[in-house]
Every structure is written in C-alpha cells, then in structure tokens.
C-alpha cells in the first residue's frame, strides 16, 4: 500500500497527461473497433427489407430472426459443422505436434543442420508453385476428394516454426542438460521437459491454427467440390451468400425464380458473420491468458 501511494505521489504532470491521453485513446480505439461489430449484430437481427433502407446503428429497428433461420436451415450445415469441428480439432492437434517436433529439432543448439534446415523452411514461406502444380500434386497423392486434404498439406508452416523455435530457444538450457546427465534421449526431453514448458506458445499457435481451420472454405470447394460429405461450415455459408446475392442470376426463363424474400444479403451476411465468429470468440478467453507470454519471435544472432 505504502509503495503504491508513494508511486502515485511521484506521478508528474506529464504522467497524468499521459494517462488521460492514453485512456481517451484506448476508449476511442474500442469504440472504433466495436461499433462495426455491434452494427453487424444489430443488422443480423433486423428484418431484411427494412435493413436495406439503412440507418440502423446499434439496435435493430424491426426485430427478426429470419436471417438466422435461413443460416441454420442450410441443407449441409450439419455435415459442414461436423467436418469443420473434426478438421479443426484433428488438424490443430496434428499440426501442433508436427510443428512442435520440428521446431524442437531446429532449436537444438547442438544439432548439425540447424541453420540450413531453418533456411529450407523460410524459403517455403515465399516460393510457391502456383495453383495448377498444387492441384496436380494433391491429385497424384490421392488427397483430393478426401478429408485428409484439409490436414496434410498445411501440416507444417514456417511461421509457426519460427515462433515455436524462438520460444524453445528461450528456455534455460539447464533443464535439458540435467536430463541429459540422467541419460534421457532427445525424445524424452521433448515430451517430458520441453513440451510442458511450452504450454503458452502451444496454446497460442493452436489458436492460430484453429482459427485458420475454422474459417477455411476454399480448400473444400477446390478439392472436394463433388463430395458433399466433406463440405465445411464456411463453404456452406459461402454458398448461401453467393446464392442470396445472385438469386436472380440463376434463371434464364421467366417464372422460375423462387427466392426467399424476407432476407437480404445484408442481413444474411451479418447473421453468418456472427454465427461463425461466436465459437471462436467463446474459445479465446480460455487461451488468451497464454498469449501474453506465449508469442515471441526471434531470429539467429551471433
């Protein structure tokens, strides 16, 4: 108590100015950030045709849950949700394991090929063969038209390795050395010593990966177009969105269009946005406590 009050006493005029400016700035920052999200929320609960007229800010003018009904009535949404959860969980776990293991190897200071291995992966961040060779490769490997196309191709990524490596390098060597004296091999050190210490960075990387898996739809369209059992949540939403927007582009003879008239692209898009954001938002408070310590990045230095 004493020291705290003492500190307060010491705050100069400048410091006070700083606190005031800083607080004002952060409050403004929050408003600017939150407003569009809340606006989206308000729109998602508004009547479709009414929303078209504009002028809705934070509160729905004509309340309606039609947009959500439309979103949750999508034919493939159940299957999409199952696949998305499966790929998010499985994909994140496998990729985390793979990246952690590789980063462990790269971060061993005694390892012979340490720096060349790093370069090998850094290059992959920027060099890219383009769409067609990628498609041809995945087809040749038998990964198209399968669930595994979501998991295998993105298993290891250079950015993740850089983050994990930095964290592992920052751990004190003494743990490893004492374990080594006890006769532990590298795998034991990885599983029993390094990994438990890496919880924060694992959590951070896992969230990155999970967000990526959760939001992806392009791979579902590109590789599993004819396999509805492997559809993903976002792909189904994407289909709905292009359909709401283009419902008229469909017909070429009259009297054919039968469209949902109560919802409009604005409200459906808002509802879809909120619906997909929600699970991630619910998840991240649990992981957030790790962030502050988990994510650092560093390079090599002599």
């Amino acid at each position: 108590m004493n020291s705290k009050s003492k500190k307060k006493m010491q705050m100069s005029k400048w410091d006070w100015a700083f606190v005031i400016i800083n607080t004002t700035f952060l409050v403004l920052f929050c408003i600017v950030t939150l407003y569009p999200v809340l606006n989206t929320l308000a729109l998602s609960f508004n009547d479709g045709l009414d929303a078209v007229k504009g002028g809705i800010h934070l509160i729905p003018r004509k309340f309606s849950t039609d947009a959500y009904t439309t979103v949750f009535n999508i034919q493939g949404i159940k299957q999409g949700a199952i696949v998305t959860v499966a790929r998010t969980v499985l994909g994140t776990l496998l990729a985390l394991g793979a990246n952690a293991l590789l980063s462990f190897v790269v971060s061993r200071k005694k390892f012979m090929f340490r720096s060349s291995l790093s370069l090998f992966w850094v290059i992959t961040m920027y060099a890219n063969g383009g769409m067609i060779p990628g498609l041809v490769l995945l087809k040749a490997l038998g990964l198209t038209n399968s669930f595994w196309v979501y998991i295998v191709p993105g298993l290891v990524g250079a950015f993740n390795i850089l983050v994990l490596r930095t964290y592992m390098e920052g751990l004190p060597d003494s743990y490893e050395e004492s374990a080594q004296l006890d006769g532990a091999g590298y795998m034991t050190i990885f599983v029993k010593i390094i990994s438990p210490l890496c919880k924060p960075v694992y959590a951070t990387i896992a969230l990155f990966m999970a967000v990526g898996h959760w939001n992806s739809w392009f791979d579902a369209m590109l590789y599993n177009r004819t396999k509805p059992q492997y559809t993903t949540l976002q792909y189904e939403l994407q289909k709905l969105l292009s359909n709401v927007m283009q419902q008229s582009g469909n017909a070429s003879s009259s009297g054919k269009t039968a469209s949902t008239s109560k919802v409009t692209p604005i409200t459906v898009r808002s509802a879809a946005t909120i619906a997909t954001m929600l699970p991630i938002i619910c998840l991240y408070p649990f992981l957030q406590r790790y962030f502050v310590t988990g994510l650092t990045i560093g390079g090599v230095k002599e």
Partner: protein, 314 residues
Amino acid sequence: MSLMGTNSPALKEKNTRAEMKRQRILLIIAGLFVIYGIVFYYLPLFGWIMAFQNYKIKDGIFGSEFVGLRWFKFLFSDQTFLRVIRNTLCMGVLNLVSTTITAIGFAILLNEVRNTFGKKLVQTISYLPHFLSWIVVTGIVHDALSINGVINELFVNLHIFKEPISFFSHKEYFWPIVALSNVWKETGWNAIIYLATITSIDPALYEAAAMDGAGRWQKIKHITLPGLRSTIIILLIMNIGNVINAGFEVQYLLTNGFIKPVSETIDIYVLTYGVGKMNYSLGTAGGIFKTFVSLVLIVIFNFIAKKTGDERLF
C-alpha cells in the same frame, strides 16, 4: 544451398560420437520433415516450367510448347503491369508501415494501463476484427465510407466536412483507405506478439530507471522500444517479403472504375490476364516474379540486419 551451418569450434568439440548417436533421432525427424517439405513445397516449384511454355492443359507440363521468355517480355513491356507493380509495392509498404507502427504503439499504450480488468477488456476487444473475413470487413468499410455512411454523417454533423465526401470516387483516398482497413482489422492481433515481448523485458530495468527518476516517456523510449527492437526487426524482415503480396481481396472487393488505375495489384492482374483468361503460363510468370521480388527484399533486409548486428531471420 550450403548444407553445413556455421558451427563454432566449441560446438564442434562437443559433437562427439556419443552426441552423434544421440542426434540420430533428430536426424530422422528432420529427414522426414525435409521429405514432407520437398513434396509439398518444393516439388510444385517444377510448375514454374509453365512460365516458359505456352501451357495447354491437354498437353500437360511435358507436352506443352516452350516459348522461352515470351511471358516475361510481355509482362515487362506492358504499361498496365508496370503500373500494377507500383500500386502493389506502394500499398504493401504503406500497409506494412502503418500496421507495424499502430501495433507497436497500441502494445506500448496498452502495456501502460495499470488497471488489469481494463487492460484485458481492451485487449479482448482489439482482437475481434481479426476474426472477420475480408468480405465482411470490406462491406463494413464500403458502407461506412459511402456518401450516406457513418463517417460522412459524423463529420458533417461535426462540421469538419462541409458536404459529404464520396471517398471511392477519388484516386487519392484509396491507398490510405486500404491501409486503414488493414490497421482496423489487424492492430489488436498484431500487437499480441509485441505485448508478449514487452512482458518478457526484465522488470528490474524499469525499476532501475524509476530510481533514476525516469518518467513514462523516458521508460518507453529507453527500455521498452529497445526491448522490442529484435522482434520488430525479425517481423519486418519476414513481412518485407510480403510487401509484394499487398493484397487481393481488399482491392478486388473495394474497386470501381474511377479508382481502378490505383487499386489493381499484381494478384488482380494475374487473375485477370492469367487465370480468368486461362493463360496459366502468364499467371505462373507473374507468380515467379513475385517470389523473386520477395526473396530479394528479404535477403537485402536480412543482410542489413546482419551488418547492423541485429537479429536476423537466417
């Protein structure tokens, strides 16, 4: 690629036979991942051959006719492509600089907040936009900046604007709009890494500075910023390679006839002239050019970092 890194003599001494034996498992793992990397990242690079062919799907990579540097010549003699490079690099640099500065600034300011609850709250809110897709974000930006949008409504009511501004009808607003969209979407998320680094700075340094009578400004200037230096440099080196990837979705979704000359990026060009017209060879040539620029930029910046004695990527 050199296979041996620069091993210090001390390290070599330690590389005894026993250590070699222990490292066998590391070698096996590294080997497996190298195979994975070769298959999934390096093998597709053979597709680059397409850039030197008049690639036809039916004939495949092995059957298509070779045309040498035709597509590269086409690209560099095309006024549109040269303009598109300018757009891409300018927007890329603008985005990189603005998102880096705001993320660092935000991290520092947030770090100065003493109230734990307020800090958590602000941080949580700051991530939100990251989870929105670009389709949604561009929709928001477009609405907010339209003639009847929130921004015009606000600024006209505050008498800052005399009359509503049609932001998307004027070329000069477009690059800042893209940069600000990036700032809005990613500041909170990008700040995570800087916040994490700040927390890892030894608190003793701050205490010592306080003893010397340093105020907040001084502490930020003399402790926090230098503490962030290596993270900033590594991220800059990494991201400088992405300057050439200034974006596709934002520009594609926000463009219109008026601003097309400043909004088109290399990716959009490749899409229009390459994929859309099924000229995969041209598309691949554009991709190679991008990779080349990325690598050159990274190597240059990595070299500078090495010279100045900073941490570097490789």
